[in-house]
């Protein structure tokens, strides 16, 4: 009776444009010369180059993992660009007024008004375009409090001691194929340092944009919260629509010292591919936080709506006694998207607590896997974990899978695991329709309700955007 309009993802992905801008690229291929090129163009000190080369040597001995559920065609690593940057950004602009108007315009179109940012309070933004950071706002104000918020390439030069001390300390260069690849060829990302007893007065955020074709983006982010400090950080991501699959292999390391807290939120909306599954980003990311100090806390919140394949497990290593790790996740897959995501909570200290809330939503022909590890060590006495995994299915061609691994190595700790799988209910849709909401509004409302516990974790400014995104990602999924 109803005519459901045929919705093409390609038309709906409003961030799918390309910025026509002259860029400098490293020659294609993964080799020492490419790494030297990156290190040189970024004016890195020798130790950084050596670190990269060490990772590269390690990489040669590693194989790509293949235990994940979503399979993908072999990536030709020699046919990729590892560095691409707008020519105008090769000399770092000193102030926002010097940033290429084309880039300003790009971010404006993406809803990140860098210039207006100057007048808006509350959020400081680092804008990463392909392989370089093009602008960072509110730097001065943050500096007054002793907070460092800058591109990691700048931190390597200006704050080498901090970078040297912490980079690779959570994700070692030997970790696994993609993490090691990132260590060898990473280009840009954000660096954050919050000094002792400072509560960061605003949200810090990084906006990652892939623009150039045939280019991989290798983001590296490092956040250190010193004793007694607090920071809330958010990242957003988009990319143009292309028929090719592009690789985004990021490494994100968080370190929380005694009594410090880091809240890290992600709204991931990389191009998901078209409705037939052509194109889209391979989002293969390693995110790991170390609660190194006692009473420290790291909380991951992720809203994953984009990418052809999302493959990531933001994790917490709970080393300090009484430390807390949290993981709140929404993963939405529609059409031919695939996600294999979850978390690892490694309890090492005493009285450590972790909480995992995962909401997976699958529609179309998509496949969604929650995979998680809770590992409570022998010495992690009196520790607790609570895990809740809920899956929502829409239609009868999609899949949802839950793969929890639980290891409890002492008898004073407790682990709870709850999991549900449900289908979106016709009676709920009928009820909403009868109250004047159309099919898409009804789906959006019901799914947002399903995800509420996670959405509540997002900073206010982003929660509204994320709610809309949840609705948009599922458009056309109920006929």
């Amino acid at each position: 009776m109803k005519t459901q309009k045929d919705i093409n993802t390609q038309e709906d992905y409003k961030y799918g444009f390309t910025t026509d801008i002259e860029s400098i690229k490293a020659p294609k291929g993964l080799n020492e010369n490419t790494i030297k090129f990156i290190s040189k163009i970024k004016k890195e000190p020798q130790w950084m180059l050596e670190w990269r080369l060490k990772a590269f040597n390690r990489l040669k001995k590693l194989k790509e993992p293949n235990w994940q559920k979503p399979k993908y065609p072999k990536i030709n690593y020699q046919d990729l660009y590892y560095y691409s940057a707008p020519k105008s950004a090769s000399e770092k602009p000193k102030s926002l007024d010097e940033v290429d108007p084309k880039l300003i315009e790009t971010y404006k179109k993406l809803g990140i008004p860098l210039q207006e940012q100057k007048r808006l309070s509350g959020i400081a933004v680092d804008a990463v375009f392909d392989s370089v950071s093009v602008a960072t706002t509110f730097k001065d104000e943050l500096t007054k409090k002793g907070i460092i918020f800058c591109p990691i390439s700048e931190a390597i030069i200006k704050h080498p001691d901090l970078v040297k001390k912490y980079i690779g300390s959570v994700i070692p260069i030997t970790d696994h194929y993609f993490a090691t690849l990132n260590s060898a060829v990473f280009t840009d990302g954000s660096f954050v340092y919050i000094p002792p007893n400072v509560k960061c007065p605003m949200e810090l955020s990084t906006y990652f944009r892939i623009n150039a074709s045939e280019t991989g983006q290798f983001e590296r982010t490092l956040i250190i919260a010193d004793k007694g400090s607090y920071v809330s950080y958010l990242e957003g991501c988009t990319a143009p629509m292309r028929d090719e699959n592009q690789l985004h292999a990021a490494n994100v390391e968080l370190i929380a010292l005694d009594d410090a807290e880091i809240k890290y939120s992600t709204v991931q909306n990389w191009y998901p591919g078209d409705k037939n599954g052509v194109g889209g980003i391979y989002n293969f990311v390693t995110k790991r936080g170390a609660c190194r100090g006692k009473n420290s806390k790291i909380s991951w919140t992720q809203v994953e709506t984009g990418s052809a394949i999302t493959w990531k497990y933001p994790s917490c290593i709970l080393q300090g006694d009484n430390s807390v790790g949290e993981f709140y996740s929404i993963a939405i897959t529609n059409n031919h998207q695939k996600a294999d995501t979850g978390t690892k909570m490694i309890h090492l200290g005493k009285n450590t607590k972790s909480k995992i809330i995962s909401k997976g939503i699958s529609a179309g022909s998509a496949d969604n896997t929650y995979r998680g590890l809770v590992d409570i060590g022998r010495k992690a006495l009196n520790s607790r974990n609570y895990t809740q995994c809920d899956s929502l299915l829409m239609g009868n061609k999609c899949g949802a899978h839950t793969v929890p691994y639980i290891k409890n190595k002492n008898s004073s700790s407790t682990v709870e695991h709850e999991a549900t799988t449900s289908k979106i209910n016709d009676e709920q849709l009928f009820y909403c329709n009868q109250r004047g909401l159309n099919q898409e509004e009804a789906v959006s409302l019901i799914v947002n309700g399903f995800c509420k516990e996670v959405l509540q974790q997002l900073p206010m400014e982003f929660a509204v955007e994320a709610q809309k995104l949840v609705g948009i990602s599922l458009e056309g999924s109920v006929g």
């Binding site: 004047g436 409302l445 309700g449």
Partner: protein, 247 residues
């Protein structure tokens, strides 16, 4: 307001409504009584536009054929169904849901949408009239509500959405006497010359409080008898079987 002629509806090749006729004018309240399986809820579903039924015959609402108009458009045009079993929607705030609904309907009518503050004023006032606990408004929609709370919530939505045609689908079933009076009071205070009510019920007891203009008996997919309140009284005494033997 509503003109139904020779309405037939079947689901999975089973005919449920077999040539139903009814005419409801603005300002009127009609009650439909009938035994289990007579097609009462099917009538409510078909009027609201629920999919899955094969339909023939004519349904005219405000002089226009409802035809293939979707559920949400019918709702926007002022058709309201108070559900027999209001569904639970976890994570969705009761008050926010109603505001979303009201603003959709207002928008369709070309009226100005309500901001959060003015809406809260209205919803507080109306829920007080219905003797509802204000805390209910901030709970998840129908989740963990008692049977009575769910039905009161339907009446609250009816009062706020201010529809033209109200269909109450066994709203009285499962209610204690106080809740029943609240529901009846909600209906009585909502009635005016412009709106119409179609009250589907098993029992006379709700009708005692709301004084229907007409009472119809639905049996085996057809209206078999129509009359006034006396018909309901008679039914209560002799049951549906007694009626068939008279008919």
């Amino acid at each position: 307001m509503l003109e139904i002629k020779n309405l037939k509806a079947s689901i999975n090749d089973k005919e449920i409504l077999k040539g139903l006729n009814i005419s409801i004018k603005p300002g009127e309240l009609h009650a439909i009584m009938g035994p289990n399986g007579s097609g009462k809820s099917t009538l409510a579903n078909v009027l609201s536009g629920k999919e899955g039924y094969k339909i023939s015959g004519e349904i005219k609402y405000q002089g226009k054929n409802l035809g293939d108009i979707s559920i949400d458009e019918r709702a926007q045009k002022g058709i309201f169904l108070a559900f027999q079993y209001p569904t639970e929607i976890p994570g969705v705030n009761t008050s926010n849901f109603l505001r979303t609904s009201l603003n959709k309907i207002k928008k369709a009518r070309g009226e100005k949408e309500l901001d959060a503050l003015s809406f809260i004023k209205i919803i507080k006032e109306k829920s007080k009239e219905l003797g509802m606990d204000e805390k209910m408004l901030s709970r998840q929609l129908n989740v963990g509500f008692s049977g009575g709370e769910k039905k009161k919530n339907e009446i609250l939505q009816m009062k706020i959405l201010d529809p033209n045609l109200v269909i109450l689908d066994e709203t009285d079933s499962g209610l204690d006497i106080d809740a029943l009076k609240t529901v009846a009071n909600g209906v009585n205070t909502s009635r005016d010359k412009k709106n119409s009510f179609l009250v589907i019920t098993h029992y006379q007891r709700l009708l005692n409080f709301i004084n229907p203009d007409f009472v119809h008996v639905l049996a085996d997919g057809k209206i078999v008898k129509s009359g006034s309140m006396e018909l309901a009284t008679q039914l209560e005494k002799s049951g549906y079987k007694g009626l068939y033997s008279n008919a």
